[in-house]
């Protein structure tokens, strides 16, 4: 299996379906990818890298050799794992649509994972491998993301998925939205990975540094785009030529 796929500009594809997924947390959500103390912890996004696996569009392996730290070296796995769907399905990043409640917990103060001891011993139970606090999002929070399907692809739309470092269960409510196709100047107002874009925004940019991929939350673009109205009435515009990690497939 090849690790690279020739990118097809999605704009060239005629048929497009948009599914809105509203994801509700059934437990506390925690990402190890956000640094403790990092201010982005307060503005959480669920990256599409996680959603591809959660939705079953990418499959990992239960047993793995050590990958070491999360680093650029892991990126080719995402590309490979999603090769079969890259031309047919695009999943956006998910962003919160309800106010979030947080709890902060000492990541390593007391061993309540597997070992119970009175004195904490180095980094036994810290999922980040660090001693610090983890800020977690409380259950009930809702996030929204989109699945775009091209050329008649029928994506599986599971109701329950697992997200985050602790594989928190989440409930997804799906709705198919009518899509309008346009071209010209538009404001993208839903987050996507920088690496999914053909070109960078020309203005009005809002950017979040995330690990392992940075996110553009908002930006003005010129070109083909799709627009749709969410179930809560919000209008969303996305570039029509998005492709998951397209910069890595070239």
């Amino acid at each position: 299996m090849s690790a690279t796929v020739a990118p097809t500009p999605l704009a060239a594809k005629q048929d497009m379906q948009v599914y809105e997924g509203v994801l509700e947390l059934m437990g506390e959500l925690f990402f190890a990818t956000l640094e403790p103390g990092n201010r982005y912890v307060t503005k959480p996004l669920i990256l599409n890298t996680a959603l591809y696996y959660a939705l079953g569009y990418a499959r990992g392996s239960y047993v793995n050799g050590a990958t070491g730290r999360r680093s650029k070296r892991q990126q080719p796995t995402y590309v490979e794992d999603t090769a079969a769907f890259a031309d047919e399905i695009y999943v956006s990043v998910a962003r919160p649509i309800t106010p979030l409640r947080f709890t902060t917990e000492n990541a390593n103060a007391r061993g309540d994972d597997y070992v119970q001891r009175n004195q904490p011993e180095k980094q036994m139970n810290s999922p980040t491998g660090k001693i610090g606090t983890r800020k977690q999002i409380q259950p009930g929070a809702k996030f929204r993301f989109f699945v775009l399907a091209f050329n008649g692809a029928v994506p599986d739309l599971p109701v329950y998925v697992r997200v985050g470092k602790k594989r928190t269960k989440a409930l997804i409510e799906w709705n198919r939205l009518p899509v309008r196709r346009h071209a010209g100047s538009f404001l993208m107002n839903h987050p996507v990975l920088v690496d999914d874009l053909v070109s960078m925004p020309i203005g009005d940019i809002r950017f979040s540094r995330m690990i392992p991929f940075d996110v553009i939350e908002q930006g003005r673009f010129e070109g083909p785009y799709c627009a749709f109205t969410c179930t809560d009435g919000e209008e969303v515009c996305l570039p029509a030529d998005l492709q998951f990690l397209r910069r890595w497939r070239a």
């Binding site: 059934m26 437990g27 506390e28 079953g56 499959r59 990992g60 392996s61 239960y62 047993v63 793995n64 050799g65 050590a66 409640r101 917990e105 000492n106 103060a109 007391r110 309540d112 994972d113 597997y114 070992v115 119970q116 036994m124 139970n125 409380q138 259950p139 009930g140 599971p158 109701v159 329950y160 998925v161 697992r162 602790k166 594989r167 928190t168 269960k169 409930l171």
Partner: protein, 330 residues
């Protein structure tokens, strides 16, 4: 007789289990609906003092309830599972690994050779292999509100006997009171029949979910049903909500508050509401599954209650793990 119950069980869920563990995930789910009942007071805290809690929404009502973290459930079940292995298959394990002497609970020091490690996973060890758990727990919530299920204790300074506040005495850890009921959904993914049976046996025999080595946290796990299918099932949180609504009989705020502040709840009513709630949620979300109900589940548990039965299924499972645990070098 006992063979029959297991065979029947295996035949019922056969489309949603594997003959042998496989490295690539498939969509085969065995969901267990469990009601954990505290038989003695338990401490579920993270900071050592305050009871774990969460705010949940039931209809239009928001209420703070007690919480049992998924990882507390994992830790407790794993301790039991590893103890059972050590007691029952040490000789078998030594054939695989001469120096095997039980399997550690320390995250990065697990043996990665035993059925328990294969099922519950393990982080990278010196061998630098990591295994993803095929058992997934939900965070679980009490049916009644936090203030109803938790008791706070203070060691008062001399002379302060009647003053109850945080500054006048030393706060002791909060207790979840005896009788507290916690509905839990646990999902086994891509497992063998032996692994389902092992997990059920562990759930049945595990009676400790609080801190170890104390008289606290004695729990009885009622397995209310096994639901096998191509999808993961409803969550613990939703089942808790459904139970509250069913007991209240309406989504009226006052009726909900009454249920959530009740001194006790009727175990049988809660069990019935949990089953109905889980199944209603599944059908609302168009999730189909094969069901093995509480009575049939009890027959299966009965068939594996002897240690010799568990030893034999663990030995069978051990024989199925060679390919799964073999990791090609990078």
């Amino acid at each position: 007789m006992s063979e029959d119950a297991i065979q029947k069980f295996g035949a019922t869920i056969k489309d949603y289990i594997l003959e042998k563990p496989e490295k690539r995930p498939k969509n085969r789910y065995v969901n267990l609906l469990v009601l954990r009942e505290l038989l003695s007071a338990a401490r579920f805290t993270t900071d050592g003092t305050e009871a774990n809690s969460a705010v949940i929404r039931i209809g239009e009502t928001e209420e703070t309830v007690g919480k049992l973290f998924g990882r507390k459930q994992v830790a407790s079940d794993r301790r039991t599972a590893k103890a059972v292995q050590r007691a029952l298959i040490t000789d078998e394990m030594k054939k695989k690994k001469a120096d095997w002497d039980g399997c550690s609970m320390e995250v990065t020091k697990m043996c990665q050779k035993c059925p328990e490690c294969a099922l519950f996973g393990s982080a990278a060890s010196e061998g630098a292999v990591s295994m993803t758990s095929r058992v997934m727990y939900d965070e679980a919530y009490t049916i009644r509100s936090l203030s109803t299920v938790v008791e706070e204790f203070f060691q008062n300074a001399p002379g302060d006997a009647y003053v109850k506040n945080a500054t006048s005495g030393i706060r002791e850890p909060d207790f979840f009171k005896e009788g507290v009921l916690i509905p839990c959904v646990v999902t086994l993914k891509d497992v063998t029949l032996e692994e389902v049976l092992f997990f059920m046996n562990i759930t049945d025999r595990n009676s400790r979910y609080g801190a170890t080595g104390t008289r606290f946290g004695k729990v009885r796990n009622h397995i209310l049903g096994v639901y096998a299918g191509g999808r993961e099932g409803p969550s613990s949180l939703e089942v808790t909500r459904e139970i509250i609504l069913a007991l209240a009989g309406t989504s009226d705020q006052e009726a909900i508050q009454k249920v959530m502040s009740a001194d006790t709840l009727d175990l049988e009513k809660v069990k019935a509401a949990a089953v109905t709630g889980y199944e209603d949620l599944a059908s609302r979300h168009r999730i189909t599954s094969i069901k093995v109900d509480e009575a049939a589940t009890a027959e299966v548990l009965d068939a594996i209650k002897e240690d010799s039965e568990v030893a034999s299924l663990l030995t069978t499972q051990l024989g199925k793990l060679d390919d799964y645990l073999d990791v090609p070098k990078k």
